[in-house]
Subunit: 314 residues, 3 copies
């Protein structure tokens, strides 16, 4: 089981992941009904505690919670007033005293959700922390692959981009290797972490080689400011070398799918054409994101939570 929160895919075993995916498939069916709502979390409170702004992920969690009939409260402290980590923990403990049933945390610093989880009664869901993990993104990616391919086991998954600085890459590496896929990563040398093969993946300096025979090609969002410098001087050059387009895709399996966590820098990570059309499945990822987050909220906030007793030391 997931224990008392979802901080990273690294902590999950294959059974956890399968339970989440099965639950998510059921939740997706709810989202296709005329009345897209179940009373499962009625009377439960979910707090979206986003220290880093992310309207897309926050909206996905908010819609997920509301479709489960939870009360969802958004709390986005200005980062200026909370620069010291001490304040972060105090803020989280204050919210915890309002008895939420789950707290969804995003922060630009790796490890903050874990530090918060250590102090809280409520289960904590990591919605992205620095370059560490973004577990619900990896789970929705996995869900989408399983939906399209029937399984993850035995597939070849190529992740291309700034592997070193990407929590999406990290969580997906854990998720797909745990589920039996072969994971390859590709990117410019400055964007490949030195020890990446210790995570059980194969690293490539060439997308052409990495894509060879792949079932899934996942492009990561590039921070344009990282492209300045001698090795990869321009967006144009990045696209020529590591951008996914139909020409490069010819080396993948014929039925390969293309993924991206969004938002896409069109013409950079993906050609314009691939951003909008099959075999890219970007909007399926978004749609599955709501179902997947419903599943995670259900599994974590749906069970009776222990309440701190009156006399307990605070």
């Amino acid at each position: 089981m997931m224990g008392r929160g979802l901080l990273g895919i690294e902590d999950l075993d294959r059974d956890d992941i399968e339970l989440i995916l099965e639950t998510a498939a059921h939740m997706k069916e709810v989202g296709e009904r005329d009345v897209k709502k179940v009373p499962t979390l009625r009377g439960r409170t979910i707090i979206n505690l986003f220290f880093e702004s992310s309207t897309r992920t926050r909206t996905s969690f908010e819609i997920a919670g509301k479709r489960l009939s939870a009360d969802v409260v958004n709390f986005s402290p200005s980062s200026s007033s909370l620069s010291k980590s001490e304040s972060i923990i105090d803020t989280a403990k204050t919210l915890d005293a309002m008895d939420p049933d789950a707290v969804v945390v995003r922060h630009k610093v790796a490890g903050v959700p874990k530090r918060i989880a250590d102090e809280l009664e409520a289960p904590v869901i990591n919605a992205g922390d620095g370059a560490h993990e973004h577990p619900t993104q990896a789970l929705l990616d996995l869900m989408t692959v399983v939906e399209k391919k029937g399984r993850a086991d035995g597939l070849t998954v190529t992740i291309v981009g700034d592997i070193a600085h990407s929590r999406v890459a990290r969580s997906n590496i854990y998720a797909f290797t745990k589920m039996g896929a072969e994971v390859r990563v590709a990117g410019p040398p400055t964007m490949l972490p030195a020890n990446v093969e210790s995570l059980g993946v194969k690293a490539f300096g060439s997308l052409r080689e990495a894509i060879d025979g792949a079932d899934v090609v996942m492009a990561l969002r590039i921070q344009r400011e990282r492209l300045s410098g001698a090795i990869m001087p321009s967006v144009r050059e990045y696209h020529a070398t590591f951008g996914v387009d139909r020409a490069k895709l010819r080396f993948a399996k014929e039925d390969a799918i293309v993924m991206h966590p969004g938002p896409v820098n069109r013409g950079v990570e993906l050609s314009h054409d691939l951003t909008d059309h099959r075999p890219s499945v970007i909007l399926d990822q978004v749609r599955n994101g709501v179902a997947l987050r419903m599943a995670v909220l259900y599994l974590l906030a749906g069970r009776p939570q222990p309440r701190p007793t009156e006399e307990e030391d605070s």
Copy 2:
């Protein structure tokens, strides 16, 4: 019928407008109950996608959606991160993949709601786009007039202010002319569009003449920065010439009403006295706004929406 959204009054015919007004009258009755809520849109999701900040209109739509038991999600991207229209469409398509039942869009550029509507499964409601249209404002104005006067047909409606730059004026011109009213517009020459009479209205350079025998006097909000310049050098001069006060109102019909979309620049578009007292009906307009938006949401989001199928090209 309204088709798949509400982008402007220009697209509606008289039957559409009458259906909306009848529905709004019913919704207003709901708002007067002790429990101001009906289960009509339970399990439906409404997204308020406001690229331009507008707490008043956003709040009106939010309350309207909640009184219909819909889940309402506010999404206000910072305009800086979405300066390119490409991003706007991608953002909207991402939200669409979360299966909302209606998306309410405000943007400072005319035509953006239409461009978004062309790409989305969900019906789009224009909550104001540049100087183009603000259809729900015009409909709530029409609702208020019909409530006070029993009809719009045959009435004389005088709109005064910056006609050229006002989406409220444009939508109201369409709405009242379609319903059989005589519409007059008045303002300084720089604020009257050259071709305004082609919209079926009479243009006046003098408020005194335009107001003569009017049943309804509608003042528009002035952007103070537009008043600088030779022709209309000051707020004080604007008020003297085009501000509505009791002296000028004596030329209108005895039972004329005064309207304003709010917020009023007191002592500019309206005298202080008229801002707060009859015959102005400003707060009735606001109150009817909630009922009118309930009607529009009910008509657009209340019917089963087709869902994109799994295999459809995205």
Copy 3:
């Protein structure tokens, strides 16, 4: 009774306070259920009108409203666009026309909630106005004391800090004196108002004396910028003189509790140790805050509200 709103503790009598505390105790029991929600305010609308940002208090009211099944709408106008008080009233009247059942107001200027209340149909709850009052904070403090001590009557309550600029101090002085407690205040001379003893309290320049035999020690949050100057030159010196720590606490009653409205400047108003551990009851205050605000919302928004009639002068 509380009349048509809750603007300050000064306006309440002992019966009002006891009714609120009894109702809050019941609401707290709701918050301890598995389904933390009652249908009491279904179909009622609560608007959080926060001119001054306060995510903690706003969140507490939002959760309180949602646990009563009310629709809660957050409205936070940028203070820049509303610098003139005229606009504030117009904004409030506009929201009032949307028929809310309660409006919760925070503003940095004392008296604004009262001015708004004078104009609105809906009951107004003051969520903090300048250095005037913060009544729900004092009531939740009182609730916490009664919960821990069985009563307020006959207790000695010491409030330490910037009494002169604190709405929390002011509201608590009213609340505890009305309930029969002896209230003492302590702080540097610049932070003690000249006429403070006219409020029925004893003033001390020394925490050591003020704390002697106290049942409750309440530290206030210090604005660090107020500490610059000759009399109290540094945070360190403030803590040495007026910060509450275990050494100073030895002069209070053995079972004394320590309170703080939060957020704590750790090591300034309270020692680090006391911030996190008994006898401080800071998180109990936060938890009781939700129950207390449920009680206030229930008492004010739960009864049928008169609606303005159609023809009434606006």
